[in-house]
Amino acid sequence: MLRLENLRAGYGPVTVLQDVSLEVNAGEVVTIVGGNGAGKTTTLRAICGLIKPTGGRITVDGKDTARLSPPGIVDLGITMVPEGRQLFPFMTVRENLMLGAYKPAARARIEERMEEVLTLFPRVRERLTQLAGSLSGGEQQMVAIARGMMANPKLLMFDEPSLGLAPLIVKQVFGIVDRVVASGTTVLIVEQNIVHTLQIATRGYVLENGKVVMSDTGPALLKDPHVKRAYLGV
């Protein structure tokens, strides 16, 4: 579904991604593992169209996304749950969810979708009329994920969903990620807590200095000596 071929990208004169090739097929859970500054978030931002690649190709179902703006990429069925939640703080949770279904295709059946998403995340239903900014960090993360699901995406990308949350809350957030995966949504996830993500990932890529250095199934990567030494400290 999603294919990155020899992608190069960065910010102004700084090239962060040197050579990234990866693919995500329908029904998969793919994770990108890497240290700080390896280019994980940059990869997701390039896929979303927030930064323009300086080389290589990104294709979605064979269609080159180079000329598309971020809304155009949302149209292709790719939605991101951004790092740091990025909710609309002075709007209610319900309004945040409605904005998740902004595109006409999603808007057409917004009521049914809202019901599906709220069934998946009952905790969010209890908070519908509250301002998003008034929720705790964990609840905000749930709303951010629910908002992403509102678009009924073909591919949902998570950027560090557990960042900045207490260990107990991290568990809950992973529970929610698992529920998204169980609902059949294709997922691309970037996460510092690699133990959990590699366990649920069908495949994983290891990114170092803007290059993919390794790729395998999730559980295999978890057993790999290099991964263990570099990212698990064992």
Binding site: C48, V74, M98, A151
Partner: protein, 290 residues
């Protein structure tokens, strides 16, 4: 007692006029985060446009309000696209230069085209007084402006809260980074918002034309008060702008009578500063949302 009620009525109606001029400004500031220093000059252009439509085409100013608002919507959207958009990521100073420049150009353009003479729309009906339940006597035109400003504000608030596009506009104001990830075309929202804010000033011009003459610097006469109203109400808050406008209108009216006409600005700026000391984000402003 009679005089007090009359002063309150005058003040409230003046507040209505200020509110009408300020809502467009506060909308543009709140959403696009650009202070449009050409706002007063847009009002001036609108006053001239109403005058031309009334004197040349015989169009009633209140009838001219709708086409004027529509034309101004497109002018505002065009100005955003052509002049403001390329500067959206520039230093805020540069945006100030640009909007001040547009304002200066418009004012001097008007001076060149129409000279410095006052041009009034002849509508005696609007200047006639009407009696309000025997407690105050106010001009009909002022009453119309008052109700139009409340209707326009109410309509705008409903639009922002209840419609899909309105929600997208608020989303852009609250989180510019996340909005495109929802599929919202942020630049399009900027152009639309600038258009709506400018459309409001077009509407205001047509409604105010029977009360205030057009002259090249009429904009600066109103715009300082409009800025005070916007800051007082809490930048970007439409409700705040209306309340702020009513406060300024009442203070002007009461201070002008009980203290001294020359000192009314001193009084309202003193109150303005006092409120900002207590509530730095303005009456309805949310801290962190400015």
């Amino acid at each position: 007692m009679d005089i007090l009620l009359q002063l309150i009525a005058n003040g409230a109606l003046l507040g209505g006029v200020f509110a009408l001029i300020s809502i467009g400004l506060t909308l543009i500031f709140g959403i696009v985060r650009v202070v449009n220093f050409a706002h007063g000059e847009f009002l001036m252009v609108g006053l001239y446009a109403t005058w031309i439509m009334a004197s040349q085409l015989g169009l009633h100013p209140y009838v001219a309000a709708l086409p004027l608002a529509v034309v101004f919507f497109f002018l505002g959207a065009l100005m955003q696209r052509a002049i403001i958009q390329p500067l959206m990521n520039a230093d805020p100073h540069i945006q100030i230069f640009a909007t001040v420049g547009i304002g200066t150009a418009l004012a001097n353009g008007a001076l060149m085209l129409f000279s410095a003479d006052l041009r009034s729309v002849d509508l005696p009906w609007a200047r006639q007084a009407t009696d309000l339940w025997g407690i105050a006597s106010v001009s009909r035109g002022n009453l119309v402006a008052f109700f139009v400003s409340f209707a326009a504000t109410g309509a705008l608030i409903a639009f922002l809260n209840r419609t899909h596009l309105g929600r997208a506009i608020r989303a852009v104001a609250q989180n510019r980074y996340a909005a495109p990830l929802m599929g919202i075309d942020v630049n399009r929202i900027y152009a639309i918002t600038f258009g709506i804010g400018t459309g409001c000033v077009g509407l205001a011009a047509a409604v105010l034309a029977p009360l205030y003459p057009a002259f090249p610097t009429v904009g600066s006469f109103f715009v300082l008060t409009a800025f005070v109203v916007v800051v007082l109400g809490g930048m970007g808050s439409l409700e705040g702008a209306v309340i702020g406008a009513l406060i300024i209108g009442l203070v002007e009216s009461l201070a002008g009578y009980y203290i001294a006409p020359d000192l009314k600005e001193v009084v309202y700026f003193a109150i303005f500063l006092g409120i900002l000391i207590v509530r730095p984000a303005g009456l309805f402003g949310v801290r962190g949302n400015e």
